[in-house]
Symmetry: D3
Subunit: 124 residues, 6 copies
């Protein structure tokens, strides 16, 4: 499985490098992207599940890892996450299955860290 | 705009024809598909929004029309639907915009029907 | 339903116009495309079903119409076509359903033409 | 062929309606989208061709129509547009062909309007 | 190249974990998925080639590996597999090439195992 | 980060193996693919940027790596490459971000090699 600490390190390093190219539109898009998941008419939890479902049908592995982490951080239960993946599976078909396996593997690693009392708040 | 009554008629007619070919796996998939949106750990409203968001990023026009109708039927507000489309837009990019236009056009037609007291419960 | 004669007319007219731009690579690609479906280790029937299945999961409506016509022309049965669409449905998920409806609608129109003794050999 | 005046009318009407929902992120995305095609290290012409090529491989019909219009407005030649579509065809494969036909059909309508002295500056 | 024994181990482990979450729709989908490839109007060989072609145009690496293994297990020849990949390449374009390389690499490893008398029946 | 020398080695080895299967259509497609990027109405630089943008929105990692290398080889500046990625990001949305990170990482490795006087002409 993808190491979550490696994932974090590469994301942070590259986000900084991209930022320093100083391309205004790219930087605005990054800021727009994080604003979209803030509580509004929909709760943060629902928004993260929307991010997870869309990332899953589009089979963007890093995006799925990111939204699983975020979903766990904002307090989604296993059942809520699995039902979200279920809808993604029905909508997107069997090609979603490899992502489903990796998503569940990430979910399990996060739950293990929580059981051991390891802080997961800084992972993304 | 796509006429919602035409949409309903073609869907029903073709669903019946597909059913009568008697392909077991296809028929099971159709039944599985409708079961997936029933209330579970997630409410029907959230599930319809997940269906809407995934259909939007995959740019499946009929699927979007279907889930907008369902979202309105189960009581989602305009704000909830628009925030769902917002996340689909950020996740899927500017190629989602044409679907966003058609989705909003469908939403407006549904709201007009509701204002005029036209029953929309049988549309899907 | 898309009118099959309109479909034929627009395809032919635009294929000719594209040809007359004289772009070598585009013209070579068109020729390569038709060569790929000629009998080899696989029969023409299997190749058309491969064309149909891939077009269906990629949800390319005109491509599906084209390969349904070709599959019927080279003698595929309804059962063979429906099983091909079944695999496309399982692989591609519920977003394939709208294409499935249109594909079955095209298939039925072709079978009706055959029953009435209308020649379908020139449709593509 | 899609009527270009209908295309313009529907786009404008729906863009306004979307704007009036007042969703900040959607409105910012629309503004970001238009900023991205302004001259920078790359000319406006190259940027429109990038918009056209990406829209073509993603098979977004309205996006293709939009970028063909824009490419013609900023002065791209037929050869430049056709070579852009050629690369999109090689990258995206035969499923791009239906979009290629429609793109060429749009291009021809624009050239006819220009020949007749009809102003195309307000189409998008 | 992806190690085929690692591939098998991760698939089995995660399939079991997913099963034990007890989500009915997910479990039914998995069962539906395997039923779809059983002999019907089409032979098992043709069905596996349909699975391979659709996985290839959708560029699902694990799905391609799975269907190459299955195609070899049910007795498809190299020529049949390569012609299937050829159609996927023409349909899906040059973005399919990286998957083509990995597919051929998997095919070669399977043929080597067969030559050495290593049993490949348990790989999936 | 993906090792560029490993990337080169695997590409070359597999391209040769694919070539020796002797499938005419596949071999013609490979030749067509390289012809498409030769100078015509558009310069080689613009063509490589079109290849990069389309690969990025389709999220084909190896294709992105290939076109970043080619873009640097034919003399594109960082600004031109970043603006190309910017358009791909706006067109394709946040699911493009993981590819953006890897693309920038590849770009940086190429620039470092150039600074150290390491020849990058043979990488693809």
């Amino acid at each position: 499985m993808k190491d979550l600490d490696e994932f974090k390190k590469f994301r942070q390093k590259m986000n900084e490098k991209i930022f320093f190219y100083g391309n205004k539109q790219i930087n605005r898009f990054f800021s727009l992207d994080s604003q979209s998941y803030r509580e509004g008419a929909l709760t943060e939890k629902v928004k993260e599940l929307l991010g997870l479902a869309t990332s899953t049908v589009l089979r963007c592995e890093d995006c799925i890892t990111y939204h699983i982490i975020r979903a766990v951080q904002v307090g989604c239960s296993d059942e809520e996450i699995i039902e979200t993946l279920e809808i993604a599976l029905i909508v997107g078909g069997s090609i979603v299955i490899p992502e489903l396996r990796r998503a569940v593997s990430t979910l399990e690693e996060l739950r293990e860290r929580q059981k051991k009392g390891i802080n997961i708040d800084e992972l993304v």
